[in-house]
């Protein structure tokens, strides 16, 4: 194990892996690395925070919602919270529980994986088609009934306000400091800050993962092609990489966001598009050295298609610096999204930590410290957590430290 471990760690490897079995055994190495990472307490702290965030993201409607779980009104029981769940909420639940099932039962072969993925997809499509929450008139009916005391036996979730609830019926003032009813205070839009932050965790996590995922995919593909074929593809590719590297990123992001509307999915794609260069460089360096190896020649002689050589044989060898970089990349993506929202350019319509931070300085020179402290703290802790994990990964994979 140590033999192979050394190979995969030292970047451009110069030992001789025997066969294409390298791919499978790398997975074992991966598991071992993750175990090493998990032992460090800093990484554990980071993972704990991310787990909290993930929990908040998945169960957000059950933690903070203006709709009660159950209430008795006009001698009939209603369950508004469940009626008003959106397809997105339900899909997140499906994904979460499937994840739990995978973790517990650990499918061995790829067949199980494919079945699982298709089940998720099917359920998601069904959810999208079948779930239709009732219209806004019913929403305000339930809201008024539950809050004004007309209903009896109202069971609510811990935080009684949704992020879009502007509390017109409660005579709340904008920008109020934390109090018993509103643990973190009230925002500029007359909404509860804590519930805004909980729902904003969805955006943060999803942008982090998906945009980094996109960047990794683009980077690995382009880098792989550049490294494997060399020649003119390499030349052009390096120019492209230089261009994307040298562009003032924020400016490019601005331009892109201006082209597409500030939609969550577009934002993910855009942030991914601007950060693929690092991954491509790593993969290219790897492939440049790997492509003259015996096992590659052997694979080519055996007639294995090129894409298979690239992604099933060569890539697992070079994936390690990409993983480290990806962890920092997720942190970077979250920072980028927060900055864009802060500048007023990104997702202005939905709850987002950066957007909340923007409201912290009021017009009269007032400083609403709770609106500045808590969202900023959330961004900081998330970025910190990913950086810790990245650090731990890097230390686990660093050959020099391992030697000592």
């Amino acid at each position: 194990m140590t033999e192979l471990g050394t190979i995969a760690m030292e970047g451009p490897s110069d030992a001789h892996p025997a066969t294409a079995q390298v791919a499978l055994e790398s997975k074992g190495f991966l598991r071992q690395t993750l175990a090493t990472v998990g032992k460090r307490y800093t990484a554990r702290l980071g993972l704990v925070w991310i787990a909290i965030l993930a929990f908040c993201a998945v169960f957000a409607p059950f933690i903070a919602n203006s709709m009660p779980i159950a209430m008795k009104w006009k001698n009939q029981w209603y369950f508004p919270l469940f009626r008003f769940l959106t397809p997105a909420d339900v899909i997140l639940q499906i994904v979460f529980w499937t994840g739990i099932i995978v973790y517990v039962y650990r499918p061995r072969s790829s067949l199980h994986l494919i079945v699982l993925v298709s089940v998720i997809l099917l359920l998601s499509i069904l959810a999208q088609m079948l779930i239709h929450p009732p219209g806004p008139q019913k929403y305000s009916e339930y809201l008024l009934a539950s809050r004004s005391g007309k209903a009896q036996s109202v069971w609510t979730v811990p935080i009684r306000y949704s992020p879009e609830d502007h509390m017109d019926d409660l005579q709340q003032l904008r920008n109020s400091p934390p109090s018993v009813h509103h643990l973190l205070g009230i925002t500029n839009g007359k909404a509860d800050l804590l519930s805004n932050m909980i729902y904003a965790s969805r955006i943060a996590l999803s942008i982090g993962f998906i945009s980094t995922g996109i960047a990794v995919v683009i980077g690995c593909t382009l880098g792989g092609l550049m490294g494997y074929y060399g020649g003119i593809i390499d030349l052009l590719g390096m120019r492209l990489a230089e261009i994307f590297n040298a562009i003032p990123t924020l400016l490019l992001l601005l331009c892109f966001v201006a082209v597409f509307e500030p939609n969550l999915y577009y934002m993910m794609a855009i942030i991914g598009l601007t950060s693929w260069v690092g991954y491509a460089t790593f993969v290219r360096a790897e492939f440049l050295s790997l492509r003259d190896r015996d096992f590659v020649h052997a694979a080519r002689a055996a007639g294995i298609p090129t894409w298979s050589i690239l992604f099933r044989h060569m890539l697992p060898n070079g994936i390690t610096p990409v993983l480290v970089s990806a962890s920092f990349g997720v942190a970077g993506a979250i920072l980028a999204e927060s900055t864009l929202s802060f500048l007023g350019i990104g997702l202005t319509g939905e709850a987002s930590w950066g957007g909340l931070l923007n409201e912290a300085t009021g017009e009269g020179g007032n400083f609403y410290w709770w609106i500045a402290l808590y969202p900023g703290l959330a961004i900081f802790l998330t970025v910190f957590a990913y950086n810790l994990i990245g650090e731990a990964l890097r230390d686990a994979l660093d050959p020099k430290l391992l030697k000592q």
Binding site: I243, A246, C255, V259, F367, F380, F384
Partner: protein
């Protein structure tokens, strides 16, 4: 070596071309097109008036020409060798001419003037931050490496990743809110680079009627403190870690052991031998520091109300002001590429083992 440098400089041009083309076409195809806002500044006024204004913009800036033609014209404008542009807009003969960055649609002034006003402010901010970043980062790193595992080391280790993770937007807002606002401590000014009265003050602090007047220099420094802190804490934390890692690596190397065995004092080993060899790692990242600061300074300028290049760029993109956006991209891209070339040259100078032949 000289060949290499010339080759790198020549390679900058196609890259710059690519950068500006990318930004231009993304902006051109965005909703609003080029100069979108300029045409609507008079919305609601008489239709004949609005039509006249549109006609004027079309004639002067060629907004509705095909996009590739517009880009071509801009390229022609900035190159010292090209088709001469006469005063009425038609093209003259091919030859040497004075390159020009064009005029801003929104402000109706030459872009060069805008940049002349704003670039010094951004440069001031960044150039003051860079030495601070390096000195602070390297000094902390050395100190941490000297007594590895000691108190200073553990504390700095724990804090440096945290400092690197603090988002600039949060740091800026909190600093202003706590240190500069009316409600809490009013230690620092909230915005701008100097108070208005300072323009009339003498440079150095002096006494007027037995009252100490701050003077222009101190006033600017006082205004710069918070923005520079915001801009430099992250990079200096990063440099600390890098220095420490590199120093530790070298402290464990063979030649250090030899030097100790020979009886050299620890200080001499540290500063004359180990530090020099550690700077290689620092130089590798140096190329990234200036461009990342330029990016970070967009946020800092926005928060602290400093009218620099970052604000100019953001505003120009929102206005789709073609000339300004291209000029800002050109400058930003040039700085990035130039710092990369500089980094490679420094690398070759610092490490005699590296050669580019």
């Amino acid at each position: 070596m000289l060949n290499y440098v010339i080759r790198r400089i020549l390679l900058m041009f196609p890259t710059l071309l690519g950068i500006t083309a990318l930004v231009f076409f993304v902006m051109a195809y965005s909703p609003g097109g080029i100069g979108g806002q300029a045409l609507e500044a008079d919305a609601g006024s008489d239709s004949a008036v609005a039509a006249k204004i549109r006609e004027y913009y079309e004639k002067r800036y060629g907004i509705h020409k095909p996009k590739i033609v517009q880009f071509g014209r801009w390229l022609n404008q900035i190159s010292p060798l090209g088709l001469e542009i006469k005063d009425d807009g038609s093209l003259g003969h091919f030859g040497f001419k004075a390159p020009s960055l064009g005029d801003s649609m929104e402000q109706n002034r030459p872009v060069m003037h805008l940049i002349r006003e704003r670039l010094p402010l951004t440069l001031l901010l960044n150039l003051v931050s860079i030495p601070i970043v390096y000195i602070l980062g390297v000094a902390t790193g050395i100190q941490a490496a000297k007594k590895r595992g000691g108190m200073f080391d553990t504390v700095s280790n724990a804090t440096q990743l945290a400092m690197w993770s603090v988002p600039t937007i949060w740091a800026g807002v909190m600093l202003i809110g706590l240190l500069a606002s009316r409600q809490y401590l009013k230690l620092f000014p909230t915005s701008g680079l100097y108070e208005v009265e300072a323009a009339h003050m003498a440079f150095l602090p002096h006494m007027v009627n037995h009252v100490l007047v701050r003077g222009y220099l101190l006033d600017v420094i006082w205004h710069l403190i918070l923005p520079v802190i915001c801009l430099s804490y992250g990079s200096s934390a990063f440099l600390t870690k890098l220095t420490r890692g590199s120093m530790l690596e070298n402290l464990g190397a063979d030649y250090t052991r030899t030097a100790r065995a020979k009886g050299l004092p620890e200080n001499v080993i540290l500063y004359r031998h180990v530090l020099r060899n550690s700077t290689l790692a620092l130089i590798t990242v140096a190329a990234g520091i200036l461009p990342s600061m330029l990016g970070g300074s967009i946020v800092v300028e926005w928060i602290f109300g400093i009218p620099g290049m970052g604000q100019l760029g953001v505003h120009a993109v929102q206005f789709r002001d073609r000339e300004v956006v291209l000029a800002v991209t050109l400058i930003g891209g040039f700085v990035s590429l130039a710092s990369q070339v500089l980094r490679d040259i420094l690398y070759a100078l610092a490490d005699p083992r590296v050669s580019y032949e």
